[in-house]
Homo-oligomer: 93 residues x 2
């Protein structure tokens, strides 16, 4: 079973890497670029599919794959629409 | 207009970062993880929408945002299904 995790910096957090990319794109022929945010994208291949798989995966997204202080994450299954998306805010214990 | 660019390492290329994440996930209670690939995810906000916008964006994806030797990219518009997806292979000039 394949999962996709997208980790993005929170809106309120500065993204210097994104700003550098934005400036570079503006200089390379796309002056209409307004903003760029850079995040991580993880493709995870999991064998089998136990009942609490997604719960445990959400736990690892929060504890290992993202930093809930400055990042949000979204968890999608099989490249489907992110029905199971969860922001770290709402999943924090 | 919002675009999303996902840059992933090619299948044939080793991904040590992904392997490190896979091993960490296995040690932290998910032994069923088979593989992890780590890529970049860029959210790009563009003002207006000229005709050749996507063409120019594909050019920048190839020249600036990805390394076509070891990476593939996918370009999606507005979080829609990647109809406009293009692998760097097929778009190389």
């Amino acid at each position: 079973m394949k999962f996709k995790v997208v980790v993005t910096p929170k809106k309120a957090v500065l993204d210097p890497q994104g700003n550098a990319v934005r400036d570079a794109m503006r200089h390379l022929g796309m002056p209409e670029v307004q903003s760029v945010r850079v995040g991580k994208c993880l493709e995870i291949d999991v064998a089998g599919g136990s009942v609490d798989l997604e719960t445990r995966l959400h736990g690892l997204c929060r504890d290992l794959l993202s930093n809930p202080v400055i990042e949000d994450y979204a968890l999608e299954r099989n490249g489907m629409a992110p029905k199971t998306t969860a922001r770290s805010r709402s999943k924090r214990r």
